[in-house]
Amino acid sequence: MSEFEADGESRRGFLKCMTWAGTGLVWTLAGGVPASIGLEAAAATRKTAPFSFVQVSDSHIGFAKPFNPDARATYREAIAKIAAMPVKPDFIIHTGDVSQLSKDDQFDDADQIIKSAGVTVFHVPGEHDVLDDGQGKAFLDRYGKGTKGAGWYSFNHSGVHFVALVNVVNLKAGGLGSLGADQLAWLKDDLAAHGPSTPIVVFAHIPLWALYPDWGWGTDESAQALALLKRFGSVTVLNGHIHQVQQKVEGHVAFYTARSTAFPQPAPGTPGASPGPMAVPADKLRSVLGVREISFVARGQTLPLVDQTLA
């Protein structure tokens, strides 16, 4: 993992994101860094070239219902999209629910498929990935090398600090996603090593904002986590779990949820609906599944976050 090791925290970064859903531009954000520095100076302090990475989520390998009889097939299509990207991403982050039921063959198949993208993959578990008798041991044995606690960790890449959080274990009756005191303490220490101009990317399965608590779409201690992130000039939060693109900006923090590669879920609060799979006609399925590409480049250039559907 040497290419993802620590680098200079003082480098001035700048992140600007744009999201397309399908073919239409729906939203843009300029996540500001309160620093005045020229493009050349920014480039000079940069240790590596601008880069991109990809977010995939909720592959649910093992899911098989009439409207998507094999989530492996749609996952293969998603990974093929990544392999065909004109600029090869530096890595992929998978924001959880790799499997449907935490079974070894489901993880095996998922690994086999994502391997074809030919880049490093970083994982965090979804609630479907901790269903084994060891409540997540199978996931950690496979993906958790070098992680802490239930599988949280961080790494640096080209001046950006990435933080992987786990909010799907030890959930409490009536509650939401949960980070727990140990993880929050670790997060505090982890962030303390970084200056406010370091761009931060946080990823976790369940949304880290109160997206729709009635359906469990939020995290109990998100306010505490966000308080720790407040002093940073650019924070991007990437989540899965809800199988659709939603976004929100709060100060310098931009939150995004991603599409699934297996099945869609209803819009939050849809009357009569529940936060489970939403059947769609076969010819519409691929228009509601997808992957996301995120790019970081120097200030003044286009720095897009693009959601691509499988259609």
Partner: protein, 111 residues
């Protein structure tokens, strides 16, 4: 969505709603089957005599679990159509939830 389609959906939802109320009434004290449907334990509270076996069945398209708040019983993940049964031998109030979707809560009252 067209107005006609909305009206049809509203009618369907209303029908479903009444169906659920009917099922809940039919499953008054003594019921031993709990249905998991639309992210809901139904009925959410049942009252049974000590020694009764209660059986949960998942009718959703997504896995669920049954986990006692006090840890006294818990199921494995139940896929669609899977069941889990537990025999309550001691009187008391047993609160439980789905450990994947903790907003789903229920209660078994054992007399």
């Amino acid at each position: 969505m067209s107005r006609l389609r909305l009206a049809a959906c509203a009618a369907a939802i209303a029908t479903l709603g009444f169906g659920a109320i009917g099922a809940a009434l039919a499953a008054a004290p003594g019921a031993t089957a709990i249905d998991i449907d639309n992210f809901t334990f139904s009925p959410p509270t049942i009252t049974v005599a000590a020694g009764t076996t209660v059986k949960w069945t998942n009718d959703d398209d997504i896995p669920h679990t049954v986990r006692a708040v006090d840890g006294s019983f818990h199921s494995k993940a139940m896929d669609t159509a899977d069941s889990y049964a537990f025999t309550f031998t001691k009187p008391g109030v047993y609160s439980y939830f789905c450990s994947l979707h903790p907003k789903m809560v229920g209660k078994v009252v054992v007399k």
